[in-house]
Amino acid sequence: MEQFLQVLLSGLATGSIYALAAIGFTLVWQAAQTVNFAQGEFVMLPAFFVLIAMNSGLPLPLALIVALAVSVFVLGFLFKKAIVEPMQKHGNGGGLSLIIATMALAIFLKESVKEFYGAEAQPYPPLISGGTWNIGGAIVSVTDIAHLAISLGVVVGLTLFLNRTRTGRAMQATAQNPAVAEILGVDTNRMVLYTFLINAALASLASFLITPVYLAKFSNGEYLGLIAFIAAIVGGFNQIRGALAGGLLIGVLDNITATYITAEYRAAIPLVLLIGIILFRPQGLLGTSEGRTV
């Protein structure tokens, strides 16, 4: 029982970080009706911004702030202005061309980091380094608990922002019906930009929390992007709570599989889950069906 609690909490901690990236998929889907296949690289890159800032002599807290600001600018503002907006002008809101552009961006970011920083994994300082706590006989890492608390806190904060502020409501209106929102005076371009900035901030936070586990490596985005994508689909691509549930579920299942079944096939579990969801509940666990006229 103690071991199960340990495994569960550790899985929830990792899953909550996956959820941050998965929520980014959901937000970008709602705002721009596209899938950002560079999302994994969006999680990989901010860690390297932190390393660059630290190599310039900044202490970790300041390096994190600088990296967050640079990431929000590059992965939020520049991504929207330089890639999303030009592609959306090519009819059908960008459609397939925008999706392919994000795939190209993923390769570009990955190869650029490899070229600039090398293929070797770089050591990366943990945000929170602590000991362990004994909870009901289970020995759990303080870092895991802190990761879970930070991630869930951010998700709760984001949900409150979307539901309890005028901007959040306007962002929801833009996601539900952009043409009508615009007619009613909502600056939909600005709302979509806010969504991209929030996505970049979430990806940065996920990066800061997960990189101490994986170390900073150019290829981190491949796995993280895939897991976050699957988490968003499993939970429901059009619901933030769905992406959260999907991330937590994958984190827990991954840990349970590795501990009780086999560590060798743990990477297969999310894929099996994905296949099952697509076959039996394509809208995801908490998602809703969407109709589209083509």
Binding site: Q172, N177, A179, A181, L184, G185
Partner: protein
């Protein structure tokens, strides 16, 4: 003294070799209810979209309260005092009726900071409740908009268009698909609103009975050009209009 709210001057719009709108001019005065009618393909919607800045005309100009709206974004038009309803349903289905109405007014209130982080009711709940009652949607206040009937959603759409207190409202086929009881209700509410607030309406509609009883003046388009203009009685007896509609 009359006050021009909308001025359309020599508007023309072509798509390739097709002249959708040909040299159309008219003015709408404050408090007027103008109907734009015509057979299918007569250029009504194209003209409407030119007025709303959604299409750039090849020639001519559109001004609202003396200000050119050429190239203006829809959200800026709204801030200028222009509201509109859509031919298709245009509510936010995953929000309540109350939240739909508040959202329709929130961009006109508060400072930049309060618009960014302020509470979503924006201090508009009282005003929104009055608008809900005015359009007789009180019993549906807390229902999700997506669960309303088609006619109820049309009423909600109209209520949303009025929430920001516009000077000019463009109604795009408000009667389309609405049952007779709901239609009578909608018409009566629009007339009352016009009488009480002096709001100017421009209405595109196929339902002749609705247009004739709602509008004070009617412009008839055929093949992109104005073929008749006058009161409902004058239009009803105009031989050119009868020919255009009956193909005689």
């Amino acid at each position: 003294m009359s006050q021009t709210v909308l001025s359309v001057s020599h508007i023309s719009k072509s798509f390739g070799g097709i002249h959708a709108v040909r040299d159309v001019s008219f003015e709408v005065q404050k408090g007027e209810v103008l109907g734009l009618i015509g057979p299918n393909g007569s250029g009504k919607s194209t003209l409407f979209n030119c007025v709303l800045g959604q299409l750039q005309p090849n020639a001519g100009a559109v001004t609202v309260k003396g200000q050119s709206v050429s190239g203006m974004r829809a959200c800026d038009l709204n801030k200028l005092g222009v509201g509109r309803t859509f031919q298709q349903l245009s509510v936010f289905p995953e929000m309540t009726v109350l939240d739909n109405i508040i959202l329709a007014g929130q961009e006109h209130h508060g400072t930049m900071l309060s618009r960014l982080f302020g509470a979503p009711d924006a201090g508009l709940t009282g005003e929104a409740d009055r608008m809900i009652e005015f359009f007789r949607l009180g019993h549906l206040r807390d229902e999700m908009a997506g669960s309303l009937s088609y006619g109820q959603q049309k009423l909600l759409d109209a209520a949303m268009a009025f929430m920001a207190g516009p000077d000019l409202v463009l109604l795009d086929e408000p009667a389309g698909g609405v049952n007779l009881t709901m239609l009578a209700n909608l018409k009566e509410r629009l007339q009352t609103y016009n009488r009480e607030h002096g709001t100017t309406f421009v209405v595109i509609e196929h339902n002749m009975e609705f247009v004739m009883s709602l509008c004070t003046r009617i412009i008839v388009l055929a093949e992109g050009a104005v073929i008749a203009e006058g009161t409902p009685e004058e239009i009803r007896s105009n031989s050119q209009v009868i020919d255009a509609y009956l193909g005689g």
